[in-house]
């Protein structure tokens, strides 16, 4: 594996848990990413997205005001979105197949199951760096091509619960 230099990346973390935000932030900083903004809900998250135009969004699914899927839809479809193609990692304790399909059908780029570990976060970051997927726009869908490595989100050592 390459010695990736992530230092130029800007990342937005959106999670209502202060602890999880702190954990992800510390991990990303250890990977070399210094430019990190965070938000505790989808509304604040979208404002941070508009203000900072990040290269990557990591969002929780369940948040008290506006869930992660609504947030993803807003990022992908709103005319105010600075980059509708931004890679989005959905962070969730729900790893059931139905949930994965819902997330994928709403334009999520990748899944990261809780509990989060430094290893799983690093691997997910690298997989997105190497992701050359095209986007598909139709009447009913806008997001990364869904025919790509769907099984990767469900199998392997990262699936812990």
């Amino acid at each position: 594996m390459s010695n990736f230099d992530f230092s130029e990346l800007k990342v937005l973390i959106c999670d209502d848990s202060l602890q999880i935000r702190a954990l992800i932030k510390q991990c990303l900083m250890a990977f070399g990413i210094q430019n990190i903004v965070d938000a505790m809900d989808a509304k604040t998250g979208f404002q941070e997205l508009v203000d900072t135009d990040p290269d990557l969004v990591i969002t929780d699914w369940e948040m008290p005001t506006g869930n992660g899927i609504d947030f993803v839809q807003h990022i992908r479809r709103s005319p105010d979105s600075p980059n509708p193609y931004v890679p989005i990692i959905m962070l969730t304790g729900y790893t059931e197949l139905d949930r994965v399909k819902i997330a994928r059908d709403n334009g999520v780029s990748s899944f990261l199951a809780k509990p989060v570990s430094a290893v799983s976060l690093y691997r997910r970051l690298v997989s997105l760096v190497e992701d050359q997927r095209l986007f598909v726009r139709s009447d009913s869908f806008f997001g990364p091509d869904r025919r790509f490595k769907v099984s990767e989100t469900l199998e392997g050592p990262d699936r812990r619960v």
Partner: protein
């Protein structure tokens, strides 16, 4: 049938990431583990609040079942995600089992209540005994725990 268009994004994440010049993957992960060690210590303090909320919801579930069952599930689900993230995989195992008990239920029998009570007490014991990580005593407990929890859930039919 609607037409779909294929679009190549102007910006890719890889455009801003050099393939050299950064830490090795092993270095990056080791740094992250070291950096999050202090959060793992602090987590025990935060988790006390979650367990207190869980215990309160458990006690109140006798009088207001439906709402409190949902509340207990939400707390247990949150704890499930956090435990392992902060170095307490046993907490994730126990709260995962508790989620399995609570998720299909809208009301609770006396036997359910006993099963839930044991789950909460088990989580308290993990923190009280400092059973962190997946080796040593925590590893031994972790090895036997899934079977014990499954047997416990069976008592409430979950």
């Amino acid at each position: 049938m609607s037409k779909a268009s294929i679009i190549k994004p102007d910006r890719q994440l890889g455009d801003k990431v050099g393939k050299t010049g950064g830490p090795t993957p092993e270095q990056a992960i080791l740094r992250a583990l070291n950096a999050t060690e202090n959060l793992s210590e602090a987590y025990q303090g935060w988790a006390v609040d979650d367990l207190q909320d869980l215990w309160r919801a458990f006690q109140e579930s006798a009088s207001d079942e439906g709402a409190e069952v949902r509340k207990m599930f939400n707390i247990a689900h949150e704890v499930r995600g956090q435990g392992g993230s902060f170095g307490f995989p046993l907490i994730t195992s126990i709260s995962d089992s508790l989620c399995k008990v609570l998720e299909p239920r809208t009301s609770l029998t006396r036997r359910d209540m006993e099963v839930i009570r044991i789950h909460i007490l088990a989580m308290k014991a993990v923190f009280h005994q400092g059973l962190k990580g997946d080796s040593g005593n925590a590893g031994k407990v972790g090895h036997e725990l899934p079977q014990l929890l499954a047997a416990l859930r069976k008592r409430s039919g979950a």
